[in-house]
Structure formats: structure tokens, C-alpha cells
């Protein structure tokens, strides 16, 4: 067991509890940077995809995990980010300007939606975001000059400072670009969560009434959180557009929204690490299924490929099992394991017992 002696205030609010955890993050970042030299083209592309999902997951995590606002429509914000970025680049705006602009546009759109939406809570907000999703999907088809309508749109290849970041031509560069963006956003996110703004997100999540009593402007906090959440998701959408290359409205289906929810819930609600674990899971499971399918087919003659919809079914089953048995997600499970080792002979089962609470009606706010 490790004891941390905090002698200064700066030490108390430090991102990392001790040097060891700082070193682990540094090693991880280093490993990610040299990854293109270690793995082949195929796995590098998958790693890029995972990074983009993690970015989108972080976006949703701000809303769902840290402010308690459930959104079923985040695919809409992915779409807005992707189309805004591609449309801007198609009229000649360089990537370095269009990319942050895409995030800004999405964030502003999200914040504008959030102003009426924050009057709702819980389930109503979830439904309202679902409605926004459907409306955005139809708008994409209607706004054909910008979005290419049903036919789709091409994400132009990225190039700045004379270096190509094309997804197909220079995958390593595109990977490093995504990695840099993800690291920057993660760093900003982690720092946000220890600032007064981030703390007020948590306060609003845990109890709106007490947050208001402490002098937090709940409406402003919720809109800000939703705007930030959609902004980050928009950035992820822009990258996703480049990753796919040529896309139409079907890329951003309702299933993407649900997969995003899966990322944050399975990863662990309320933990930045959770977004990454969830993203790894969601990109790895289809690969594992594919490998299993081939193996079963070759060795036992069982053809799983003949069962349509098996992938979604497995995702759904994983989700159900996690919600029932481990609502804190993968990261929550890891925390439990780590604690068990940290305090080795003293760990007891009931240390992490979930406190059951009686339902409180939402009809009395």
C-alpha cells in the first residue's frame, strides 16, 4: 500500500496522485507514438479507429458520465462535425482551421439545443436528443448542396506544412494526427475535471438541488457541459469522416448513437479511462468475432456467418451483462481489482457493495 503525503496545495490538485502513475501515462503515450513501427497497416488502421471512437466516447462521457445528461442522439453531432469539416475543406479552408471550426460549429449547435433541453431531465432529455438525431438525419438529406444528400460526400485528403495526412496514402501520419488530437483533448478534459467548472459538472450530476444551493448556475453548467460534449463529439465526427473517406448519412445511424452509449457504459461511467476501454472493446469485439467465425468454420464446420445480426446480438448481450453485474464498467472493475491488491489481505467483499436506493419520482422535481 502506498501513502501519499501532500505538502502543498498544488500537490493536492495534481493530475496524478504519485510519480508512478505519471510514469505509466508517459510510457503508454510513448508506446502509442511508436505503434506504427510495431504493427502492420491493418492493425494501425484499427488503432486509428479506436482512437476516433475514444474521442467520441470522451465527448459523450462529459454529458453522460460527468453531468448526468443522457443523450441518445450523439450520432447527430458526429454527423454535423463530419459534414461541417468536409464542407469547409471542400470550399478550400485548410484542415488546421476547418477542424477546430467543425468542433466549434457542433458545440454551438449542441449548446443551442441544450438551452431548451436542460429544462428537461433524465428520460425527457434522452428522448429530445433522439428527436434531434432524427431531425438532423433528415436535414442532411435535405441540404443536398452542402452534404451531398443521399449520394454522400468525399472527405478531402488532409495536407498542411507540405506533409500529407491522407488516410490511405500516409496512414502513419494520419494515425499520429489522431493521436495528437486525442492526447490534447484527454489532457484538456482531465484538467477541466479538476477546475471549478468540472467540479460543478459533478455537483450537478449528483444533486441539482444541492448544486443550486451552493450557488452553481445549473442551467448554464448543463448547457456548457452539453456544448463541450457535442463539440468534442464533432471533432471525432470530423476525423471519422476522414477515416471513412467517402460517406453519406447512413454512416451516422441510430446504431452509432447506441454504440457510443455502449462505449461509455461498458468502459465505466464517470471515468475518462472508461471511454478508452469502451472504445477498445467496441472496435476489438467485431475482430474477435471474425477470428472466431473463421476458426469455427475451418475447424468444426460451424458456419456462424449464416446467422445475420449475430454481432449486434453479442454487443447487446455484453451490454446487458455489464449493466446487471458490473454497472461501474470495465474501469470500475479494474479499480476493484487494484484495490484488492493494494490493501492485500484486508480486502472484503462488501467494500464495493452497491447501495440500493428506493426510486424517487421524477414527477416531483
Amino acid at each position: 500500500m502506498r501513502y501519499v503525503f501532500k505538502t502543498t496545495y498544488d500537490r493536492d490538485i495534481d493530475l496524478h496522485q504519485h510519480g508512478w502513475s505519471r510514469a505509466k501515462v508517459a510510457v503508454l503515450a510513448g508506446l502509442m507514438i511508436v505503434l506504427p513501427f510495431l504493427v502492420g497497416e491493418y492493425y494501425l488502421a484499427e488503432a486509428t479507429n479506436t482512437l476516433i471512437w475514444a474521442l467520441a466516447g470522451m465527448g459523450l462521457m462529459i454529458a453522460v458520465g460527468h453531468t448526468g445528461q443522457v443523450s441518445l442522439g450523439h450520432a447527430a453531432f458526429l454527423a454535423i462535425g463530419a459534414y461541417a469539416n468536409s464542407a469547409l475543406m471542400n470550399v478550400g479552408v485548410p484542415f488546421l482551421i476547418s477542424f477546430p471550426l467543425a468542433g466549434l460549429i457542433t458545440g454551438l449547435f449542441g449548446a443551442v439545443i441544450a438551452i431548451p433541453a436542460v429544462r428537461m431531465s433524465g428520460i425527457y432529455l434522452a428522448i429530445a436528443t433522439l428527436a434531434v438525431f432524427v431531425i438532423v438525419e433528415e436535414m442532411v438529406i435535405l441540404l443536398e448542396p452542402i452534404t451531398g444528400g443521399v449520394g454522400g460526400i468525399m472527405a478531402p485528403s488532409i495536407q498542411f506544412f507540405g506533409i500529407s495526412f491522407d488516410r490511405y496514402g500516409a496512414l502513419e501520419n494520419f494515425y499520429w494526427l489522431c493521436l495528437a488530437i486525442v492526447i490534447l483533448v484527454t489532457w484538456g478534459y482531465a484538467n477541466l475535471m479538476r477546475s471549478p467548472t468540472g467540479r460543478s459538472f459533478l455537483a450537478v450530476r449528483d444533486s441539482e438541488v444541492s448544486a443550486r444551493a451552493l450557488g452553481i448556475n445549473v442551467t448554464r453548467t448543463k448547457s456548457l457541459a452539453f456544448g463541450l460534449s457535442t463539440g468534442v463529439t464533432g471533432l471525432a465526427g470530423a476525423l471519422m469522416g476522414h477515416y471513412i473517406g467517402f460517406y453519406n448519412y447512413e454512416l451516422f445511424s441510430i446504431f452509432i448513437s447506441i454504440n457510443l452509449l455502449l462505449v461509455v457504459t461498458i468502459g465505466g461511467l464517470g471515468f475518462i479511462q472508461g471511454a478508452f476501454l469502451g472504445a477498445i472493446l467496441i472496435t476489438a469485439v467485431p475482430q474477435v468475432i471474425a477470428i472466431l467465425r473463421d476458426g469455427l468454420n475451418a475447424n468444426f464446420g460451424i458456419n456462424l456467418g449464416s446467422i445475420p445480426g449475430l454481432d449486434t446480438m453479442i454487443f447487446a448481450a455484453i451490454l446487458i451483462l455489464f449493466i446487471i453485474f458490473e454497472p461501474a464498467g470495465l474501469y470500475g472493475r479494474w479499480l476493484k481489482i487494484r484495490t484488492w491488491f493494494d490493501i492485500f489481505p484486508l480486502a472484503r467483499r462488501d467494500m464495493f457493495r452497491r447501495q440500493k436506493s428506493y426510486l424517487k419520482t421524477e414527477r416531483m422535481k
Binding site: 428537461m120 428527436a131 445480426g309 428506493y358 414527477r363
Partner: protein, 291 residues
Amino acid sequence: MEFLQLIIGGLANGCIYGLVALGFVMIYKASEGVNFAQGDMMMLGAFVALGIGNTDQMGLPFGIAVILAMAIMFAVGWGVERVVVRQIFGQPQFALVILTIAMGFVFRFVAGSIWGYTPLVLETPFAGQNFRGGGLVVGLADLVTIGVTLALTLALWAFFAFTKIGLAAQAASQNQMAAYIVGVPVMRINSLIWGLSGAVATVAGVLYATKGAIDPNIGLLGIKAFAAAVIGGMGSLPGALLGGLIIGVIEPVAGRYAPGELAKMSPYIIMLVVLVLRPGGLFSQIQMKKV
């Protein structure tokens, strides 16, 4: 005349949205949970009825098939509550939302693997029978839909307003702990309500199937029914029906006089407008707590 025709077709469609919405509202009334799998339960109910009733499947008479399907779906609803939903008792509502979304995928997979993904037609005694008069054509299926929906809404409303179990369900939703203290068997009530909503979903599914072919993806209609429930105000049965009717009528009218995409958006635009103007729905049940 054309307008009237649109309205009648819209009312019949709206009744189906309303019926699915009734399922949402019942569960919400009893446990403040929202069952996002309601649309998929409707789909499953329709397929079970099809499996029992169609001549190339089990071939039982239509009436018996519907009743059997309702019984089976009652058991499915009951079972879902007993086996899955009860496990997350005491977790935030959000957990139930995700759980039921996942359940919806499971239902879709089950229906897809049993009955396949190609659209199938349910054989009904009132297919293709129409009444004509004064330039209007009214299908028997539409009339049956409207009649059954009205009767069912009235029956369910009476159930929640007058019977002991219905009142107990309302008590359980308004204050779970207090309900326990006065002796309401909250868990059993929840199971019963889930079962009932499964049966109601079956009725909706069968009525939907009288209008055309069904495939495992018709459950997505649940999203529209959801909009209906929200417009009416979650927790109000007549509100759910009214919301369903509003959506059902607006959709074909918007489709006739406005571009197609706008018609598809119209239910959600109405819903957003209602949510912004009256956050609790038309029949609002939200009251401010005084601290």
C-alpha cells in the same frame, strides 16, 4: 374529401402509435422506468401471432392465435421483468434505458432467426374489406383498429383509476418506499405491469400487421410511439392516445402538402415544440417540489 380520407387513415395509424405508447406509459406509471424495447415487443407479438395463426405455420384460427400470442407475450413481459429488469432494481433510470435498448436488439435477433428478415403477411379475417360511401373508402381493418384502441384505452384507464392493483401500481411509482411500508408488493406489481404491457404490445402488433407486411425492423416504430407518449405527457394514458392520434394525423397530412423529409421529421418537431413549451407533455404530471 381527400383531406377527410387522409384524416381517417391517419387516425387508424395514430391508434397503433397510441397503443404502443400505452405500453410505455403503463410501465412508466408503475415503476417510472421507460421500456425502450416496447416497439420490439410489439414486433415480437405480431410475429408470435403470425407463427400461431398463419396457415403455413401452425394454422390455428385468428381469434385463438391472437389470444395465445397475448398470453405468450404476457409471459415474455413478465419474464423480462423477473429475470432482467429486477436485477437492476435501485439503479438509476438511465441503466434501464440502456438495458431495454439492448433487450430490443435481442428481441429483433430472436424474431429474425426464427422468422427471417423478409417481410411476412399476417392472415387476418378482415383483410381487403372496405366500406364505401360518399367518395370515402374506409377499410374494415382501420375501423377495428380504432374500436379496439378506444376500448383498450378505456379499460386500462379504468384499471389504473379504480382497481386495487392499478392504484397500488400508481402508489409504487410515486413513492416506492412508502408503498412498501403500507404493504404494496412493489416487485409483484412491476412484473404484472410488464406482462400487461407485453399483451398490449401484442394487440398493437397484430393491428399493425393487418395493414401490411411485417419484418423484424418494424420495432423502430417504437421511437415514433415514444414521441406520442411524450406529447401526451408520460404517465397519462389518455394523453398517450391523444399524442398517438396527433402524430398519426399530422404525418399523412404533412406528407401530402409538404416535402417528404419534412413529413418524416414532423412527429419529432411536434414533440420538441411540446417539450419546449410544456416540458411535462400536454397532460402534465410534473409538480415542483418545494424545498
